[in-house]
């Protein structure tokens, strides 16, 4: 109905400042404050002026300037979140449930990918703090000293997720990675696997799970655990290569504890391609209980952590904080569960 001319940004040198509450107010015959009130608490404004204001908003296409609002109120309704990788379903599904819950309360999420280097995380944290978020969500419990200092100095609520510590920066929602490795080792021993190996890829937490598995298994059985570690991210190809490498190293039969389901799946594919039977020749335990784990052949025995629960639990503690409630238990261990399927 409008915009017949070229309104593309290059047409005008400087970006035009938009419609303000001042504009809307003038059109509705009221002051700027009244418009502000009408938007934040309609009950404080008479029905008649409310209507006039709404008409003016519709006519002008007014969109409140959250930047100005944030500056004035010292509340940004912004949460910034840092994850190692946004393409990793483990983190993205957590963020999804976190966002959903926070959005219900009017918060938006500024998300950044930090990789696995604490230095990079530190830079990202500084950038995020400059946006004056109302809180921050971090992945993991290991951060640079400078990062901790900045976070503490900001006085903002901070939730660390996906790992557990008794002494978080502020609050944490996670699980004990080492425990998953112990549990997997116990499971392997119980089920009679007298030889074991590991394949790990990705972050430091994956290595911690692997180390726990290995130490527990070796300690209890006396049989040493071969391992294959990749610096890179976990992929199907790494899983296949992992099995191949272990076989080369002399591993012939037994159970393989993988740091993720995708690696486990790779092992299954490689084993099948070599005519090995699963779990008779090679048994596999994965990690994560990803969507496909139950549907591949054979289905993958894995360690399940309720990723969505992490997101919503993190949201809950933050919201409690925002609502002025004292968070009794700022360290939450959500645990995990071994899902027994056919691969081990």
């Amino acid at each position: 109905m409008d915009q017949t001319k070229d309104t593309r940004p290059e047409a005008s040198e400087k970006r035009q400042r938009g419609v303000t509450m001042e504009t809307v107010g003038r059109m509705a015959g009221v002051s700027q404050v009244t418009v502000s009130r009408a938007l934040s608490d309609p009950s404080k404004v008479s029905a008649k002026t409310m209507r006039k204001i709404q008409d003016a908003i519709a006519a002008t296409g007014f969109v409140p300037n959250a930047i100005a609002g944030a500056l004035a109120s010292n509340k940004s309704k912004l949460i910034t979140a840092l994850v190692p990788s946004i393409t990793n379903i483990v983190y993205s599904s957590m963020i999804r449930s976190f966002s959903l819950r926070m959005r219900e309360e009017g918060y938006q999420i500024l998300l950044s990918e930090t990789g696995f280097d604490p230095e990079d995380e530190e830079v990202a944290i500084a950038a995020h703090l400059s946006r004056r978020p109302d809180a921050l969500l971090l992945t993991g419990i290991h951060h640079s000293a400078q990062a901790r200092r900045m976070l503490l100095a900001s006085g903002l609520p901070v939730v660390e997720v996906w790992d557990y510590t008794d002494s978080p920066i502020d609050m944490c929602v996670g699980f004990r990675h080492a425990e998953t490795g112990y549990a997997a080792a116990d499971y392997a021993i119980e089920r009679g696997y007298t030889k074991a190996a590991t394949i790990a890829a990705g972050d430091e937490r994956a290595l911690r799970r692997k180390d726990a598995f290995k130490s527990r298994y070796e300690q209890k059985t006396g049989s040493s655990v071969l391992e294959m570690n990749f610096e890179s991210n976990a992929t199907l190809a790494r899983g296949r290569e992992g099995l191949a490498a272990l076989l080369d190293k002399g591993f012939d039969t037994g159970l393989i504890f993988c740091s993720s389901d995708i690696l486990a799946h790779g092992v299954i594919i490689e084993a099948t391609a070599r005519g090995m039977r699963i779990p008779e020749d090679v048994a596999v335990i994965g990690f994560g209980d990803q969507e496909f784990a139950a549907d591949v052949e054979p289905s993958i025995t894995t360690i399940k952590v309720d990723r969505e629960a992490f997101g919503s639990a993190a949201a809950d503690v933050l919201l409690a904080r925002f609502h002025g409630e004292t968070v009794e238990e700022p360290e939450i261990d959500l645990g995990f569960e071994i899902i027994r399927r056919k691969s081990a």
Copy 2:
């Protein structure tokens, strides 16, 4: 070294306002403006005062308030991005490359998930516009009329990605989904598959690819194409169910065009479990060339779109715009490629 007392947010009623340029300036013996200049363009400040300012910053832990900066300069260094799903690798890998490129230039990305409902997208767009981003990135080319109006009125650069149209809101970077279906049909016919079926799941674009395949295949061969469509997201389980359903419907042998690699993988697993040979009994074409496509058995013939290229191309057109250059070609078709592997 500091913070010996309890500084957790609940300790103080109102969040304390932080260190400002004013504070830093006073400590360094200069005015607030000089601090601002020192940070935005060190060359405009003498080396000596620069040093004093840096010391003061280090001592105070000053973090610039980007909110205030954005309000004053009318530039937020913020790009907001909307994707249907953040857990879908297709979108997240695109966003990853987009972010990386934009971050180099000092931009941050506010990401929201909109699902597949244009109404939800509209709400999200309004919320995003209130943050006064410097540009917006949208997924797809179908948006509500109101959304288009708001976007146009904002005068902001907008990039629509992952689809192609000659008449974008502003700019677009994508590919023609229908063409992929035509190409797949031609491929199937060329390779002698005289029967075909489709399995689709997910968004409207998946259906468009499927429709194109079906119409081209039926038109050229006269043989009708059975189809199985899911409302839900594509999963391995849907792929398995899809094949089962097609077999029930009377499909016995031929090629199946799937709207994603994960569906294709499900078909392969189900077929293998039933003792069917691939591609002799059932041939499969996927879509996306996801990481696992080359590594499953048999490897998946698929349609590859360079997802990372979309992200960086989108970043490039935006950055060109920001740098004041006129974007010659605001509609970019990045095309696609059929990757021939063993499954078809």
